[in-house]
């Protein structure tokens, strides 16, 4: 709802009093602690404030203050979105970012009061309009902030999953992947990809996947295990699954998972012995080896 042209002083105030508004606004930010001089320079604060006011002035020409989603407001929206994302990265708290917008209320109210000089109704109408507008803009910054945080968290999660399960080379041509902890679908996929890559990198024809440290194996995880075994076979390597505890063995049978042509061993040690055997090697006491 737009206020009648005769009564509203918003556009006029924004056009005429930009400098005073800017200075008072920055003072408000400093006072609230949201200016964070430790994170951004005073000159940047000035520039950002000036840019916001300039875009706000332009948006105000449309006469529309209620619906900030129209194209006229895109400049303001884009600026605030970018600002929120940058500040999120710099380490600002969410309330500090929103205060950038909210602290503008006080200077603007003061300016409007002077402009309306005595016209209480006009003044109150403008206050209402400006409050709604700045509230919406403040919320927009919070949403942009949250969104960028979510992206950072998602990226960290991905990095952690990649690092969490290293592949070890037990001997020439034999690698092992000891998996510790629960496996969710996403982690299992990454872990398996790492194993296949290690097979290529080390030229190992035998890979032992040890699940001693895995508390439960559900259908999805066992499917991933089987797919990994199949993929390794396609590449020219063989997998042995070891560390199958009695409970897991029961679950696997119960789920009807077909382990027909997959070699399984109860312990990593027996899997290693088998792997050596397949490579034509054995472990013997030094004294038994005839020189």
């Amino acid at each position: 709802m737009t206020t009648p042209a005769g009564g509203s002083r918003i556009t006029e105030v924004l056009n005429v009093q930009e400098n005073e508004l800017l200075q008072e606004w920055i003072a408000e930010q400093r006072q609230s602690g949201a200016a964070r001089p430790d994170l951004i320079a005073a000159t940047d604060l000035q520039d950002q404030g000036r840019e916001f006011l300039g875009l706000l002035r332009q948006a105000a020409q449309s006469g529309e203050f209620s619906n900030i989603n129209i194209p006229a407001w895109s400049g303001v929206r884009d600026l605030l979105t970018e600002l929120s994302r940058t500040r999120a990265r710099l380490g600002f708290a969410p309330s500090e970012v929103a205060t950038f917008v909210f602290s503008f209320k006080q200077p603007l109210f003061a300016a409007l009061q002077k402009a309306h000089a005595g016209d209480a109704v006009g003044f109150i109408d403008d206050i209402w309009t400006v409050t709604q507008m700045l509230d919406k803009l403040g919320l927009l910054t919070t949403e942009a902030y949250l969104k960028s945080r979510e992206e950072i968290i998602a990226r960290h999660q991905e990095e952690m999953m990649e690092l969490s399960t290293p592949v070890v080379q037990l001997w020439h041509g034999i690698v092992a992947l000891p998996i510790i902890g629960t496996l969710d679908s996403a982690r299992t996929q990454i872990v398996m990809e790492n194993l296949l890559q290690a097979i290529v990198d080390t030229g190992s024809e035998i890979a032992i996947i040890d699940i001693t440290g895995v508390p439960t194996v559900d259908t999805l995880v066992s499917q991933h295990l089987l797919k990994t075994v199949a993929a390794a076979r396609l590449m020219g390597a063989e997998c042995i699954i070891s560390g199958i505890r009695p409970q897991i063995a029961q679950t696997i049978v119960h789920l009807g998972v077909e382990l027909n042509d997959v070699i399984t061993k109860a312990t990593l040690a027996s899997a290693f012995a088998l792997a050596l055997q397949k490579r034509g090697m054995t472990v013997a006491k030094v004294s038994q080896i005839k020189s």
């Binding site: 990809e193 890559q197 290529v200 030229g203 190992s204 797919k227 199949a230 993929a231 396609l234 020219g236």
Partner: protein, 132 residues
């Protein structure tokens, strides 16, 4: 017309696929290989796919065909260097490439071919020359 070059290494044929092949090129390779096997009396074929970043059902079928045809011509085929992402995708696609022997790299592939030949009591011949 472009063709994939086939190298001769003694009694083996070596093919390195380095381009994204369109279907016709793949069929030409299939034909060329079978012709060369007969021409040279090769006892082994090594196909290096380490540069292929996708293998779809058509290429998969081609590899299967080459394996089967060469076997009929008394030669063994080994496909080497399949990339992990390709292997994972083939498994998801449901292609198991039955009858196709695979090895991790050229070295291991050659070892398999030599072992098969030794079993058959043939002699080594280390002459290398490109066939065109």
């Amino acid at each position: 017309m472009e063709r994939i070059p086939i190298l001769r290494m003694g009694s083996f044929l070596l093919v390195t696929i380095q381009v994204d092949m369109h279907d016709r090129l793949a069929m030409t390779l299939q034909d060329d290989l079978t012709t060369k096997i007969v021409q040279t009396g090769a006892s082994g074929v090594l196909i290096d796919i380490s540069a292929l970043d996708i293998v779809d059902s058509f290429i998969g079928r081609m590899l299967g065909n080459i394996s089967a045809m060469s076997r009929v011509l008394d030669a063994e085929t080994v496909v080497v260097g399949m990339q992990p992402a390709v292997a994972i995708t083939l498994v998801e696609l449901g292609l198991s490439l039955p009858g196709v022997r695979t090895a991790l790299n050229v070295e291991k592939g050659m070892a398999i071919l030599r072992a098969t030949r030794t079993l058959l009591g043939e002699e080594e011949d280390d002459d290398v020359s490109p066939e065109e």
